[in-house]
Amino acid sequence: MTAQLERTWVTVCRYDQLVPERGVAALVDGEQVALFRTFDGMLHAIGNRDPFSGAFVLSRGIVGSAGDAPTVASPVFKQVFDLRTGRCLSDSAVTVPVHEVRRRGDAVEIRLRGSG
């Protein structure tokens, strides 16, 4: 299916369900998203699939920083990804999808980006 769908914001959880510097997995329109709350309170959402192992586990990685970039390290083989761009800092040819995320009151909402 290549048709461009009109994506909508989906509420996935309450903000206080998110532990600072850890991620959770969310199911949005059938896609697996890794949602993170960083130390400064910001939210980031990327694809949950680790391209190096094929496993859907990026939400379970360690959150930190590389220079100014907020990062997550894959729990499988430890490649590090920039949470803002999805770019892999260990292998610049690789990126993971980045999704839109926002906080509305207590609710955390995600809108998928890209074709589905």
Binding site: V19, S53, G54, R60
Partner: protein, 843 residues
């Protein structure tokens, strides 16, 4: 290019190999092709370190031949092939395999053979020499046979109390014997050590359960069948003492292997050895002799350093040089089960007018003597017993001006600090390989060397006996080389430094630590390291509480082992590998009900694979109800304590290894460390639990336990070092407590105990002095830290089940907690399930 000439080297010992290495390095034009003929089935190995073979060092680690040294084209090594005839007229050697090989140049590097004095009975079975790895294997097998036939500890005697004899005694000690050493001279190591040093040496060696008989020799050895079921040996000493023995090792000196040269009519020295000139050439221009088979200036040296020097001379000569033998440095440094002995230069004050300055400290058990010239301006030599730490600094000063008052140089207190700066560039730092301070310092600068490994590779310094390694470090430091110990981009500190910071400042959170001592928000390197540091100081509660959760690797965070498809495996703790049938049934039921793939692990547990994250709590609940806890098969923590069945059931067991293993596993479970920790307990010397491949290994003896530390399996196997002999359970556990806590406190991130023990300056004896003799005064601290760990241990899995907030983490999706991850699929294989291969999209 001209056809290369043919060099034949007879003998592949350390010296013969050194010649090949030297030539390989220098013969860049390919002037020579080389054939090496070795009588032994093994290629060159380090004989200097021979007794370490019983210390857990493998034959492979003693190997001296670099990969790629022999290419079967220009450099050929033929093993198990001796030369039986040398025909100088035709320039041909004939081998034991019947081959005739022509040569343009021939090097005799045939070494020496052990001298066996003509004692009646020396041919009896049970009598051995101490020279090759085969000899060592034969000794070990005889000791094991004796132990098996008779039960108990075998008894051994070493004939000869010199350097080699004490090495042999050390080997017997490592085989679990209490050996006798018989020396004709009135003291041990008569060649190297003077009377005062010999007396202290004897005291210290006797304290190690070695019985010393000096000033006597063996009159006869007979086979005694009258008093034992199995025949033993009865040795009678000339002083009337009789000894019942299982084996005898002759180690009373060596004789040059010069028989080939004799038969070819080459001149030999009065006490043997092929006579060579300063260029190591024999009377025959085409034949050289090097090492222990050569007689140079009328002396046949039985040490490796002069042999190496001769090899270098011949390499130079073969390439048209004019090098000459620089003279021998007969300095020696030996460590016998922790007793340091060193002798250098004119140790016996044979120089005319020489003065001796002696410090004999019976309290500290050290003896030091310096020999100086009559005007007390020049250092001539010395003897150190008990503490040879100054050897590396003093030996290079021999022949040079004294840097201070001789007494102050060897006084324990108020000593003159000897810096590397006081050494002239010409001073030899590595006497085994004749490398000077100047050579090392210029190599550091020219090649930009940054560590000891680099210095070793570049200069060969420190590659033989290793006693100069501390000096290499000093020279690196003085050259301004600083090795970065920074953990990662967020902390400029090493793990050990962070440990100290946390301990001293009382910091209890990662945020506080990184805000005060680091930058950024951490990463997958520093966060788990800090989590481990905080946990081992018992500064945090449950792994999932507060900020702690954000520091954990996925395995620690989900308290199970992540597998390739995103599922986890659960490994219930089975302390010591002991399990009741009822508990086995529970594991089977859990595996069946949750459809988990099961496999027996190497650590005597059962691994249950394929659990989805949301299934974990339900699995743990079933296990907890049945009296299990899930176990750490993950994490930088204690894994298991493996055991054999021990004296309860086994015919050979001498202690209850299962009981001790359970006790140790329950004591150390949950201990967070720089890396994983494995342990094992064997109930007898047969070592069925493979304790010597563990970080902590315990082997039962008739009198208690032997403790081994720093072993490793895996990619870089290492046999553990023997730390304690025949101790009771309390002493054993206390020492393990301290070993583990000292490791936890000072090791680098992801440094196993094997690498840590190797990296300790001063090695095993330093470790022993810290955790047995409390030389740093930290044992009370270490004990207290372990007591706190034991007291605060709690079942981490049960603690998840009892807390709704912690439980809330174990869901597949935050917005669909009960929907399984659709990507996780299985297919059947051999009656169980296996994960469907996932697509990888990065290549």
């Amino acid at each position: 290019m001209a056809t290369p000439r043919h060099l034949v080297v007879i003998g592949n010992g350390p010296v013969g190999q050194r010649l090949v290495d030297a030539l390989r390095q220098r013969d860049t034009a390919g002037e020579w092709r080389i054939t090496v003929l070795g009588e032994e089935p093994r290629q060159a190995y380090d004989r200097v370190a021979l007794s370490s073979y019983f210390d857990g060092v493998s034959a492979a680690e003693l190997d001296l031949v670099e990969d790629g040294c022999y290419d079967d084209q220009t450099r050929v090594l033929c093993l198990d092939e001796a030369v039986v005839e040398l025909r100088r007229d035709a320039r041909i050697v004939t081998t034991s395999r019947g081959r005739s090989i022509g040569y343009d140049a021939l090097v005799l590097a045939t070494g020496s053979s052990p001298f066996v004095p003509p004692v009646p009975g020396r041919e009896l079975p049970g009598c051995f020499v101490y020279r090759t790895l085969d000899d060592l294997d034969a000794i070990r097998s005889a000791a094991e046979t004796a132990a098996a036939l008779r039960g108990g500890r075998p008894a051994g005697m070493v004939l000869g109390g010199g350097l080699l004899g004490l090495e042999a005694a050390r080997a017997l000690r490592l085989l679990g014997m209490s050996p006798h050493v018989v020396e004709l001279a009135p003291r041990l190591m008569p060649i190297q050590v003077d009377e005062g040093g010999g007396a202290l040496l004897r005291q210290m060696i006797e304290a190690l359960d070695v019985t010393v008989h000096v000033g006597t020799s063996v009159e006869r050895i007979v086979r005694d069948t009258s008093r034992w079921n199995e025949p033993r040996l009865l040795a009678t000493l000339t002083n009337g003492v009789e000894l019942d023995l299982d084996l005898v090792v002759f180690s009373a000196g060596i004789r040059p292997r010069d028989e080939l040269a004799r038969r070819a009519d080459l001149p030999v020295g009065p006490r043997g050895g092929v006579v060579v000139d300063a260029g190591c050439r024999t009377e025959d221009d085409a034949i050289y002799a090097i090492g222990e088979c050569a007689c140079i200036d009328g002396v046949a040296y039985g040490l490796v350093a002069p042999g190496f020097a001769m090899a270098e001379v011949v390499a130079d000569r073969l390439l048209g040089g004019a090098a000459t033998f620089p003279g021998a440095d007969t300095s020696t440094k030996l460590k016998l089960l922790g007793v340091d002995v060193a002798s250098f230069g004119d140790a016996h004050a044979a120089t005319e007018g020489a003065l001796e300055v002696t410090v004999n400290n019976p309290v500290e058990r050290t003896y030091a003597k310096l020999v100086v010239s009559d005007d007390a301006q020049t250092l001539l030599g010395g003897v150190l017993v008990g503490d040879a730490s100054k050897y590396a600094l003093l030996r290079p000063l021999v022949g040079g001006p004294l840097p201070g008052d001789p007494l102050a140089l060897i006084s324990p207190a108020g000593a003159v600090e000897l810096g590397a700066g006081s050494m002239p560039d010409s001073a030899q730092v590595c006497s085994c390989n004749a490398v000077t301070k100047g050579t090392i310092c210029s190599a550091i600068v020219e090649h930009g060397l940054t560590d000891v490994a680099g210095v070793k590779a570049c200069t060969r310094a420190g590659t033989s006996c290793g006693s100069c390694v501390p000096m290499l470090k000093t020279l690196l430091t003085e050259a301004g080389v600083e090795q970065s110990t920074a953990l990662c981009e967020h902390f400029a500190h090493s793990r050990a430094e962070l440990f100290e910071i946390v301990q001293v400042t009382g910091i209890t959170t990662f945020t506080e630590l990184i805000e005060r001592h680091g930058t950024g928000r951490g990463c997958d390197i520093c966060k788990p390291a800090v989590a481990s540091i905080l946990a081992s100081q018992s500064k945090v509660g449950h792994v999932l509480d507060g900020e702690s959760a954000a520091l954990q690797d996925t395995n620690d965070h989900f308290l199970a082992n992540l597998q390739k498809n995103g599922t986890y495996s659960v490994v219930p703790r089975i302390p010591g590998g002991e399990i009741t049938p009822e508990k086995l049934l529970v594991i089977a039921e859990v595996a069946r009900d949750f459809d988990l793939y099961t496999k027996i692990t190497g650590g005597q547990r059962i691994d249950l694979f394929g659990a989805r994250v949301e299934q974990l709590p339900a699995i743990w609940a079933r296990l907890v109800d049945a009296g299990f806890e899930s176990g750490h098969a993950y994490g930088k923590a204690l894994r298991t304590v493996k055991s054999c069945v021990g004296s309860t059931w086994c015919r050979y067991g001498v202690q209850d290894s299962v009981r001790l293993a359970i006790e140790l596993e329950l004591r150390y479970r949950g201990l967070r460390a720089p890396h994983k920790i494995k342990a094992a307990v064997s109930g007898c010397a047969r070592e069925c639990a493979e304790a010597q491949s563990k970080d902590v290994g315990v082997i039962a003896t008739e009198n208690g336990w032997n403790l081994y530390v720093g072993g490793n399996g895996g990619a870089r196997p290492r046999h553990a070092d023997l730390l304690l002999i025949d101790v009771d359970t309390d002493t054993l556990v206390r020492t393990i407590d301290r070993f583990l806590m000292f490791y936890v406190r000072t090791a680098d991130r992801l440094q196993r105990t094997a690498a840590w023990v190797e990296s300790l300056e001063g090695g095993l004896s330093h470790l022993r002095s810290v955790i047995v003799d409390d030389s740093l005064g930290i044992c009370e601290d270490l004990d207290a830290m372990m007591a706190k760990h034991v007291e605060s241990y709690s079942d981490e899995w049960a603690d998840v089940l009892s807390d709704p907030q912690r439980l809330a983490r174990f869901v597949s999706f935050v917005n669909a907690p009960d929907t399984p991850d659709p990507s996780i699929q299985f297919v059947p294989e051999r009656g169980q399930k296996k994960p469907v291969l996932l697509e990888v999209t990065t290549r």
